[in-house]
């Protein structure tokens, strides 16, 4: 290595400087362009999110606000038979009580009372019926019941049915709107937070419909999915990654697991229909069945995520454990798996969040049914949030559309709560050293 061996560069020094200089502008422009594209992409993504959330919240927020009416109803002994309470028309009793307040009289065909009943939820009548049935001594007394107004009336109060619309094009006529204005000014109606939306289940009447049954159904189904998919997926991945010999069979298994993760979810629904319902006779449209199908769907994701997390554990940790004489199993369970746990949890949560929002396979296994109650066990018929959204979106009443958005908001909150829990859980597992 003598100086002579190095080609003379003194002459090229100036050239190099000008060469670099001439390209510098292009390079800087390239960098600026790339930064701009990146920022543009983020702005685009964020604006989509804002539009999406804004639309849902705009449409669904009114669900959480409703109008409730208090009516003092005289239980007329002439109309309610002590020995046959159920045969009385309590809806009519309520309507008449309201009409008395409004100074209206029923005509002989009952048209006026029918119009009045269109404004009142039959929840009021149900409440009266159950109170009188429990305590027949109420007959002949005045009972005050409180309940929601009919969905269309609420839509008028919320400004979604407008007086400016021609009478023929709206569900309520001018007379009904006048009544609504008057009972509101009389203080019989008050607005407030719609707790019923969260404490009731599906109903044919929009004003009485709630998401509790769907929330409980979703929670039960996710529990089944998590209990099945997470441990099975973790064990399968741990075996494949740490213990299984690397040969053609394990290659085939690996390829198939990756393929399964990409199978359309409705196919899992078909599988569930064939295997779980027709063959194993798992109760139809139960959270157990939904959980089984979604567990199958979530398994490949859990396995892939767990394997990736195990691969990311530095080999030096394995060597360290093996070096002090730990067996393969001890190495994996004492050192490798605990270190992989945050990654495993992330994968599990992602696949569970995916399962929570899944609708298509559940339609295949009959979860798309009208379930007015809250399921008490995983084997009972239930509905889940995304399917509830689907059912309400298909309903014809306009008031259900606002409930659709309301249910989506509940679903999103459910998801956020779940993700928060996951982050907290992951923090616990994460060793910050």
């Amino acid at each position: 290595m003598t100086d002579a061996a190095i080609p003379p560069t003194a002459a090229g020094a100036k050239d190099l400087r000008s060469l670099v200089q001439s390209r510098l502008k292009a390079r800087q422009a390239q960098e600026a362009r790339f930064k701009f594209y990146g920022q543009l992409a983020i702005v685009l993504a964020l604006s989509f999110l804002v539009v999406l959330l804004g639309r849902i919240i705009h449409q669904g927020a009114s669900t959480f606000f409703d109008y409730r009416m208090s009516v003092a109803v005289y239980i007329d002994p002439a109309k309610v038979q002590r020995d046959d309470v159920a045969s009385a028309n309590f809806d009519l009793l309520v309507a008449e009580a309201v009409m008395v307040k409004l100074g209206e009289k029923d005509d002989e065909y009952g048209e006026t009372s029918a119009k009045a009943m269109e404004l009142l939820s039959n929840d009021l009548g149900f409440q009266l019926l159950s109170q009188v049935r429990d305590d027949p001594s109420l007959i002949g007394k005045t009972v005050t019941v409180t309940g929601p107004v009919r969905a269309d009336a609420a839509l008028y109060y919320k400004g979604q049915i407008k007086r400016s619309t021609p009478q023929g094009d709206r569900k309520l006529d001018d007379r009904q709107l006048a009544w609504l204005d008057r009972i509101k000014s009389m203080g019989m109606v008050s607005g407030g937070f719609n707790t019923q939306f969260l404490t009731r289940s599906d109903s044919t009447e929009p004003e009485q419909a709630g998401v509790l049954g769907a929330v409980v159904g979703s929670a039960m189904m996710l529990l089944v999915t998590a209990v099945l998919a997470v441990p099975i997926g973790m064990l399968a991945a741990t075996y494949l990654e740490e213990f299984a010999p690397k040969n053609r069979w394990t290659d085939i298994i690996e390829v198939n697991i990756n393929n399964l993760a990409a199978v359309p979810s409705i196919v899992y629904g078909l599988l569930g229909l064939a295997v779980f319902i027709n063959w194993l006779h798992v109760p139809r449209s139960s959270p157990l069945l939904g959980g089984l199908v979604l567990a199958l769907m979530a398994l490949p994701t859990v396995i892939i995520a767990t394997r990736a997390a195990l691969k990311a554990v530095p080999p030096s940790i394995r060597e360290a454990a093996l070096g002090v004489g730990a067996s393969k199993t001890q190495t994996v369970f004492h050192h490798v798996l605990p270190l992989a746990m945050p990654g495993v949890m992330t994968g599990a949560i992602l696949s569970l969040a995916h399962a929570l929002g899944e609708t298509a396979p559940l339609l295949m296994i009959g979860m798309v049914s009208f379930v007015p109650g809250v399921p008490q066990a995983v084997t009972e018929a239930a509905t889940v949030l995304p399917v509830q959204v689907f059912i309400w979106e298909n309903a014809s009443e306009r008031a259900f559309h606002e409930r659709t958005a309301g249910a989506i908001i509940v679903l999103l909150i459910f998801m956020i709560v779940m993700n928060l829990a996951a982050i907290l859980l992951r923090r616990r597992f994460e060793r910050r050293w």
Binding site: S316, I317, L322, G323, V324, G325, A326, L339, R431
Partner: protein
């Protein structure tokens, strides 16, 4: 004792000339580990060729040679760490006290309890200092009570020269220590199991000179109790810490003998070239 060991080493060196096929000799007196005709294959590729080497009890044997010469591969044969590598095949014998470590009936777990290992990069478990040292005794059931375990941890850390630095913070993460401290922690972890042999794979290559000096001092102390085999890139280190040196080149054992002899009077020209810095 030292003179007979040197003699034995000289005899062995004479036997292992690169041109002549290695002569089968019975394990030498004082040899804790004795390798005979060890061949290692990674798939079709042969990494080690007919290695025969004795590693004496209560002494440090250093394995030197250029990168990729197979010295680490040989080291990993001794506690069967190569078992974990897919496609790796080992033939020949390595006797630990006359017992073949590759014996099918010998569980590698038992072997690795007898043959501890220290790796190139300090690799403490991401657990507390105490747990790092206590792990080995715990899985092998060496201690019967908590106080006994605490005693083992304390003794091991003392022998590794780390006790004074960490006695106040045993519950702190082992990964929070400095590189040199981590390496001594790892040595404490290895000796907590009370092994007979300690293998060290370039234990100082990731450390600064001061930490290196501490580790070398420690190796010199440990030599009085253990058979130590160390792979090193630094010839100065081999000269400082070891009593016996083996020079590997291209998967073959070129020369082995007492350290001072190898460094002052190498028989093979390749050894001479390597230790004088002409290649490697």
């Amino acid at each position: 004792m030292p003179s007979s060991r040197d003699e034995a080493a000289t005899r062995e060196t004479a036997a292992i000339r690169i041109d002549a096929p290695p002569v089968q000799t019975t394990p030498l007196a004082g040899a804790k580990l004795s390798a005979r005709d060890v061949n290692v294959f990674y798939g079709d590729k042969q990494a080690l060729f007919d290695i025969s080497l004795d590693m004496p009890e209560r002494a440090v044997t250093s394995l030197i040679g250029p990168s990729g010469c197979g010295k680490s591969t040989f080291l990993r044969c001794i506690n069967r760490m190569n078992d974990t590598i897919a496609g790796c095949r080992v033939t020949g014998r390595i006797d630990l006290d006359g017992e073949d470590v590759n014996d099918k009936g010998l569980d590698p777990v038992l072997l690795r309890a007898r043959v501890g290992m220290v790796f190139q990069k300090p690799n403490p478990f991401p657990k507390s200092i105490f747990e790092n040292v206590a792990y080995g005794p715990r899985i092998h059931g060496i201690s019967s009570s908590k106080t006994e375990l605490e005693g083992i941890v304390e003794t091991s850390l003392k022998r590794a020269g780390l006790w004074n630095e960490v006695s106040e913070r045993l519950d702190q993460p082992g990964t929070g220590l400095s590189g040199g401290q981590q390496q001594r922690l790892v040595i404490a972890r290895a000796i907590a199991v009370n092994p007979e042999v300690i293998l060290m794979d370039e234990p100082c290559s990731a450390l600064d000179p001061i930490a290196t000096a501490k580790i070398e001092e420690l190796i010199d102390e440990l030599r009085t109790q253990y058979c130590i085999v160390i792979v090193t890139h630094s010839m100065a280190q081999a000269a400082r810490v070891s009593q016996k040196t083996a020079f590997f080149h291209l998967g073959k054992l070129v020369e082995a003998g007492p350290t001072d002899e190898i460094f002052t009077n190498p028989r093979d020209t390749r050894t001479q070239d390597y230790i004088t810095g002409r290649f490697g």
